[in-house]
C-alpha cells in the first residue's frame, strides 16, 4: 500500500476558514492524517515536498459541458479530464445539454462508462429534468437517480411551462433529488446577447434587463416554497437576484446558488469591440453587479463558484456577436483567474475554496471538499503568486474559447491529486 506524505504545505481548510502550515498523509484514497508539523516523520511514506505552496481540497465544478455524446470535436471526456486535472478540478459535474440530451438511464450509463475509462478526475453526471430538455414531460427521475444522476436540470433551456416545472419539482422532492434551475425569465431574455444599459445601447446589441434574472429566480423560489423541492440556482449574476436569494435563505428555504468565474471577474465592458469570446450566458453584467456578486460569495449568500466550462469551436465564435455561440472554457483557467480576487483583496483563500470545493461537495452530498482525516484525498497544490501570460493554444481543452487569452494571471497549479493519486502533471 502506497502512502504519500505532502510536507511543508500551507493547508487551506475551508471548513475552519483557516490557512495553517502543515502536512497531509494520503493512503487508500483518503486523507489519513492532517499534521500540524510541516515535516512529520512517517516511515515508508513517499514524500512530496510542497515547498510552502498552498494545499487545498480539490475543486468540485458544477455545470461542466463535455461534448460527449454529440459534439466530441469540441470536448471529449479525456480532454475535459486533462483540463480539469491541470486546473485543480478533481470532480466535474457534467451538464445534460448534450446532443441528444442526457435524459434516459441508458444515456447516464454511457456517460458513466465513458467517463470512467477516459477521465483522470471524478465525473458525476447531471440529468435532464424534462425529456429532450424541451420542457414538456418530466424525465425518469427515479431511474436516473438510481443510475447515478447527481442532480436534475434543463440547463439554460428554461422550463417555460410552470405547470410542468411544478410537477417535475414536486416529483423530484418525493425522491429527494436536487433540481438545478437557470433563473431567467425566458421570454424577456430571448435573443439577448448583452445586459440592458448604456454599453448595450452604444454597441447596438439586443439586450435583456438584469431584472429578468430576478424574475426567473422569483418564480423558481415560489415553486420551491410550493413543492418543497431541493433547489440550486446555477448562476446568480445580478445585484437584484442576490437580494431575492438572501431573503429566501433567510426564510429557511432549502435553496443554494452558484455563480460563474466570469461574472466574478469580468463585466460587460470587457466585450469591448464585439469580442465573441466574452459572450457568455447569462451575458456579462455591470461592474456594480459584479461587485455585488463578489460580496455575496464573501458573505455566503452565493454558495458555489463554477467555471460553466462551455467548449465552442472557432467557427461558432467567428460570427457577428449576436449570432456567435455563447460560453467559454474554464476548467483550466478558473483557479488562476479567481486568484485575481485574492490578489486584489476581494476574497480570502479559505472563502474561495469554500465556494469552490466544500460547498458544492456538501450540496451534492459528497465527502470530498474537506481538509480533514477521512475525506477523499482529492487535493490541489498550487503557487498563488507565480505570474504567467495565458496562451489559449496551450490549453488542454479541445476548444480554446477563453476570454483570458493573453491575460496576465498569477497562480499556477503545481499538482493535482485524485483519491491520493497524482493526476497532474501527467507522468
Amino acid at each position: 500500500m502506497t502512502k504519500t506524505l505532502i510536507t511543508r504545505a500551507q493547508l487551506i481548510d475551508p471548513e475552519a476558514g483557516t490557512i495553517q502550515d502543515g502536512a497531509v498523509l494520503m493512503a487508500e484514497g483518503v486523507i489519513q492524517t492532517v499534521f500540524e508539523d510541516p515535516s512529520p516523520n512517517v516511515p515508508g511514506a513517499e514524500i512530496v515536498d510542497a515547498g510552502e505552496a498552498y494545499l487545498a481540497p480539490g475543486i468540485v465544478d458544477i455545470g461542466v459541458k463535455v461534448g460527449e455524446p454529440g459534439e466530441r470535436h469540441k470536448e471529449s471526456f479525456k480532454t475535459a479530464g486533462l483540463a480539469a486535472a491541470s486546473g485543480g478540478v478533481t470532480t466535474i459535474v457534467t451538464r445534460p445539454d448534450t446532443t441528444p440530451a442526457t435524459d434516459t438511464p441508458e444515456a447516464m450509463e454511457f456517460i458513466r462508462r465513458r467517463a470512467n475509462q477516459a477521465a483522470p478526475v471524478n465525473v458525476l453526471p447531471m440529468a435532464a429534468l424534462t425529456k429532450g430538455r424541451e420542457g414538456r414531460e418530466m424525465t425518469e427521475i427515479g431511474f436516473m437517480l438510481d443510475a447515478g444522476a447527481i442532480a436534475f436540470t434543463d440547463c439554460d433551456s428554461v422550463v417555460t411551462d410552470t405547470k410542468v416545472l411544478a410537477r417535475a419539482m414536486g416529483y423530484a422532492r418525493s425522491l429527494g433529488a436536487l433540481v438545478m434551475g437557470h433563473p431567467q425569465e425566458p421570454i424577456l431574455s430571448k435573443g439577448a446577447s448583452a445586459t440592458s444599459g448604456k454599453f448595450a445601447t452604444l454597441r447596438g446589441l439586443p439586450a435583456v434587463s438584469a431584472m429578468a434574472e430576478r424574475m426567473g429566480l422569483d418564480r423558481d423560489l415560489a415553486l420551491v416554497e410550493m413543492t418543497g423541492a431541493r433547489y440550486h440556482a446555477d448562476q446568480i449574476t445580478t445585484a437584484q437576484a442576490v437580494a431575492v436569494l438572501a431573503r429566501a435563505k433567510g426564510e429557511g428555504l432549502d435553496v443554494s446558488a452558484g455563480t460563474s468565474m466570469h461574472h466574478l471577474t469580468l463585466n460587460e465592458m470587457d466585450v469591448a469591440d464585439y469580442r465573441t469570446f466574452f459572450k457568455v450566458k447569462p451575458p456579462l453584467r455591470t461592474e456594480e453587479d459584479r461587485q455585488a456578486v463578489v460580496e455575496a460569495v464573501r458573505s455566503g449568500v452565493i454558495d458555489v463558484i463554477g467555471s460553466f466550462h462551455t467548449p465552442q469551436d472557432e467557427e461558432s465564435k467567428r460570427l457577428p456577436f449576436e449570432e456567435a455561440a455563447s460560453g467559454a472554457v474554464g476548467l483550466e483557467t478558473m483557479l488562476p483567474v479567481l486568484l485575481r480576487l485574492y490578489h486584489s483583496g476581494e476574497l480570502e483563500l479559505p472563502v474561495l475554496f469554500k465556494a469552490l470545493s466544500l460547498n458544492p461537495a456538501k450540496r451534492l452530498g459528497l465527502a470530498c471538499g474537506r481538509m480533514s482525516a477521512g475525506a477523499p484525498a482529492d487535493l490541489v497544490l498550487f503557487d498563488a503568486d507565480k505570474p504567467f501570460v495565458l496562451d489559449r493554444f496551450a490549453l488542454q481543452s479541445k476548444s480554446k474559447n477563453t476570454p483570458f487569452d493573453g491575460a496576465r494571471l498569477q497562480g499556477k497549479v503545481l499538482q493535482t491529486f485524485v483519491a491520493g493519486k497524482g493526476v497532474h502533471p501527467s507522468s
Partner: protein, 316 residues
Amino acid sequence: MRFDHRHLLGIEPLRPDEITTILDLADQYVSFNRRRDKHAKALAGLTQINMFFENSTRTQASFELAGKRLGADVMNMAMQASSIKKGETLIDTAMTLNAMHPDLLVVRHPHSGAVDQLAQKVNCAVLNAGDGRHEHPTQALLDALTIRRAKGRLHRLNIAICGDIAHSRVARSNLLLLHKMENRIRLVGPSTLMPSGIDAFGVEVYEDMAEGLKDVDVVMMLRLQRERMDGGFIPSEREYYHRYGLDAEKLSHAKPDAIVMHPGPMNRGVEIDGTLADDINRSVIQDQVEMGVAVRMAVMDLLARNLRARPTEVMA
C-alpha cells in the same frame, strides 16, 4: 488638419477636430458636385468594393457615385443572397476579400459589430455603411453638414431626435456626433422605442412631442420600421402618427426657423406629414441626400490619403 484613422467604423472614435476636417472637405465637394465636370482623381487606381449584406438602394448608390466621381474602380457585391445564408464566417469573407486586394471596402451588415469584426481581418480601409443598431457614421456626418450649412454652426444648438431611437443606428451615430460637437440633445418618443441606459448619455428624454420640440433649432425624424408598427412597440400606426408624427401643429412648438430632417426613406403619414416633408422652407431632406455624396467623397478621400501614406503591405 489631422485624420489618423485607417477605417471609418463609427463616430465613437472620432475627435471633434476630425469631424470638422471631414465636414470642411465635404463642403468643397458640395461645390465640386454642382459643376458640370465631376471627375476627380483622389481615388484613381484604387478599388472600392461595396458589400451590402442588407438591402439598401440609396446608401449604396451614394457610395457608388462618390467613389466613381473620385475615380475609383467601384464594384458592388450583393451579399444578402449568397454567403451569409451559407453560414460563412466573417473570417472566411475577409479572406476572400483580401485575395481580391480592394483598397476601400464599404460594408453594410444587419448585425451590430459585424463591420468592426470584418475590419480586424481585412487589409484595406473599411467604411461602415450601417451595422445593425450600432452605427451609421456617414449618415451622421451628412446630417451634421446639412445642419452646419443651414444653421451656420454645429454647436450650441437645440436638437430633437424623434421616433424609434432604440432600433436606430442613425440615432446612435447622430447622438454621439452632436454630443461631441457640444449641442443640447433631446430624444423624443414613446418609452418602448427608447434604448436602455439612455439616462447615462447626457440627453433629455421626452415622451411628449410638443414639450420635446419646444424651441428647438433642428428636428430630426427617424424612420419607423414596418415590423415595429403593429402592437409590439406601439399600439398602431394611426396612434403613433397622432402622438409622434411630425405635422405643422407639432412643429409650431419649435423655433420659427427650425429645420426638419429625415434620413429616408420616409413613411409619409406615419412619422411625418407628407406636405411638411415637401415644404422647402422647413424641410432639408433633399439637401441631406446631396450632402451624403459629398461627405462620402470626403471620407474616402481622407482614408485614401492615409492609405497612400502607408507603405504597401506584402506584395507577393
